[in-house]
C-alpha cells in the first residue's frame, strides 16, 4: 500500500505535470526497514527549475529551503512532512542528467500503484555519491541486515561504470564491504 506521505506528494506533483521518480528512504522502504518519513523525488535538470518554481507557488506546500540541487518543501496536509526535490544532474557523472534519469527509469525502477520508485541499488548509488556517504554507508549495512542482498553493491558498481563515477565510488563501496566483514554482523545476516 502506498505510504500516505508518498500519495500526497504524488497528487501534488501530478497536478503540476512533473515527471519524477521516488528516491531515498521511501524507495528503500519497499524492500527494507527505514527511519525516513520524508519523500525524496528526482527530476531531470531540464525540469528542475520549472518544477521548483511551480511547487513554490502551490498552497499545499511550504518552501523550507533551496540548496542548489535540492529544494525542500513541507507537505501541509501531512503535518509538514518534507518533500525534497532533487536534480538528477547531481548524480549523472560524465553523462547528461536526462540520460541518467532515463537510465534509472528504464533500468532501475519499478512502477507500483501508479508511482515509480527507484530500486535499492540505484538508491544506494545516489546515497554513496553524496557528501554524507559515511552515514549512508551505515544505513546500507542496516538495509543488508534487514534482508537486502549485498549483491546490490555489485550493481551500484555497474551504475558507477556506466556514468563514470567509479573512481569516487570504489573507495566507498570498499568501505561498505569492509563493514560487512564485522564478525557480529555476519551473525545477524546469517540469522536471516
Amino acid at each position: 500500500m502506498t505510504e500516505p506521505t508518498v500519495a500526497a506528494a504524488d497528487e501534488i506533483l501530478r497536478k503540476h505535470g512533473i515527471r519524477y521518480v521516488v528516491v531515498g528512504g521511501q524507495a528503500i522502504a519497499r524492500e527494507a526497514a527505514t527511519a525516513t518519513r520524508d519523500v525524496d523525488v528526482m527530476v531531470t535538470t531540464a525540469d528542475y527549475r520549472k518544477a521548483v518554481e511551480q511547487l513554490a507557488k502551490d498552497p499545499s506546500l511550504t518552501l523550507a529551503w533551496e540548496g542548489g540541487p535540492v529544494t525542500r518543501f513541507g507537505i501541509v496536509a501531512q503535518r509538514g512532512t518534507p518533500l525534497d526535490v532533487v536534480d538528477a544532474w547531481e548524480f549523472s557523472g560524465t553523462k547528461s542528467a536526462q540520460e541518467f534519469f532515463e537510465f534509472l527509469v528504464h533500468e532501475h525502477s519499478v512502477h507500483v500503484e501508479g508511482i515509480r520508485y527507484l530500486s535499492a541499488d540505484a538508491v544506494w548509488y545516489t546515497r554513496l555519491l553524496t557528501k554524507r556517504w559515511k552515514a549512508y554507508a551505515e544505513k546500507i549495512v542496516t538495509n543488508i541486515i534487514d534482508g537486502l542482498s549485498p549483491d546490490h553493491l555489485d550493481r551500484v558498481a555497474e551504475i558507477a561504470r556506466e556514468f563514470g563515477t567509479e573512481s569516487v565510488l570504489q573507495e566507498r563501496l570498499d568501505y561498505v564491504r569492509e563493514e560487512l566483514k564485522r564478525p557480529d554482523l555476519k551473525e545477524l545476516v546469517r540469522e536471516e
Binding site: A29, A33, T34, A35, T36, R37, D38, R79, G80, T81, R132, K134, A135, E138, K139, T142, I145, D146, R182, D184, E187, L188, E191, E192
Partner: protein, 188 residues
Amino acid sequence: MRLEARLLREPGESHLPHWLAEPARRSRGRPRAEYRPRVRSPQDVERLRSHHVPAFLLTPEWVTECGYPVNFRPWLVLPKTLAGQVSSEYRILPVADADSLKEPGIVELVTFLLRFDPLAARVIASRNRGRLDSNELYRRVRNEGLDAAATKVRLQQFAPAIPRVGASLPVSELRWIERNNPALEASA
C-alpha cells in the same frame, strides 16, 4: 567444544503450555524436563517471560515511542546461549548478557540497536539523555563487546568511559541524521 544452554523445568515449577514449548527430552527417572520454546507472537514472548525465560521482543513501536520513528521487522532478543534452542519466525538478536533482558530500558535499547542500527542507537541516546545512566551504558556496551560500534556513533559523549575503538563518523553527519529524523511529536 561449545557451550549449550537448555531450558529445564525444576521440580515444583509449573509446566509451559504445550503449544508454547514442547518437552524435547526427559530422561527416565529424572525430575527435570528439557524444553524447546516455539515463539510465534508477542504473547508467546510474554508467556516465556512470565516463566522467567530471558526473552524480549524488540519492536519498532518501542523505538518510535523513544523518539526515533522507524519501521523494521521485530527482533526476538535472546541470550546467545539460548538462541539456538528457540524455534521462531522472528529474527533472533543474540546478546551476551542475559541480565539485559530482565527489564530492558533506554540503556538496553541503545545497546540492542547498536547491533543492527547504530545511527538509531545514537539518536535514541541523544533524545533520552536525561534518562540515560552513563555507568549502565558503559557496562552494557562492554558486556556486549560493542566498543567499536559505540565509537562509530560517538556514544562516549553519553558514557565517557567507553573505550575508543576504531573510527567515528563525522560529527556533522551524526547531527544531520538527527535533524533529518525528527521525533513524531516534533514533526508537526
